[in-house]
Symmetry: C2
């Protein structure tokens, strides 16, 4: 396949603004949408674990292991979306508080805390100690809550 034909094929397949979006400085509203997407998926995969930890859903080791692995990737994704350029973004509803940009070090520490707790969950979920897994699910939830407490508007 000639180079020209190949590029034409690629252009066709990905003609959905992805390239343009990647090349331009990402727009603030895109950054907000992407970071919210990461949070949405963290909720999707954390929710069932929280239910298990609280005894409200049956414990399922496979689900915990899988979701912990997913969370250990998702926990890397929101943070570059909190760019300075999004500080005054009004076109997308966001609950991000000014403290994110006023106290960047503390915000970074909260991210690291969350990632560390998720890493521990990945490790412990591979073992057979259900009580330890449930305790660690709780620790992850506290890390979520600690960051939300400082850096997110209170939810109604």
């Amino acid at each position: 396949m000639s180079k020209k034909v190949w590029f034409a094929g690629v252009s066709l397949a990905i003609g959905m603004g992805y390239v343009a979006g990647a090349l331009a400085q990402a727009k603030p509203e895109v950054l907000v949408k992407q970071r919210q997407a990461a949070m949405t998926l963290q909720g999707k995969y954390y929710g069932p674990l929280a239910a298990m930890a609280q005894g409200k859903a049956p414990y399922n080791k496979d689900t915990v292991e899988r979701n912990a692995e997913y969370l250990s990737v998702l926990d890397k994704m929101p943070w570059d979306g909190f760019a300075e350029s999004t500080k005054d973004e009004k076109s997308v509803k966001t609950a991000a508080l000014p403290a994110i940009w006023k106290d960047g070090d503390k915000f970074k520490q909260a991210q690291k805390n969350f990632q560390d707790e998720v890493s521990k969950l990945v490790q412990v979920s591979k073992g057979g100690d259900e009580a330890a897994v449930k305790a660690q699910i709780g620790a992850v939830g506290k890390a979520c809550g600690a960051c939300h407490g400082d850096f997110r508007e209170k939810q109604q």
Copy 2:
């Protein structure tokens, strides 16, 4: 720490509807939001690779490797969001076409095709053959496009 205190702590930390959401049959609008979130993040991490493949951004091996790994997790996430219950969902804007539920086997095959191409990208991105990596980025884009062509409303 007593069990009671611990559960109270967990409940506090995760009092954001996650547990309720996980316990209840997930609402159609939640499923749509979650699957769209997965697509949004696929776009976030695929976009820069497409730009590299087209020669519109400098090639960066580390970024390709990282994003390929991210995509190999994200490519598992949208599909359970296309539940039957979302077929007639009107409260959230969705471009999902009825073909998703009319031709489920073809839709599953398109998912598998995408996942296979991403897996190949993960492998090839670990090597030093830039041309092969770029070709495989194109193959991933074609898999995105093929599924969108059959199962998503045309984008304006």
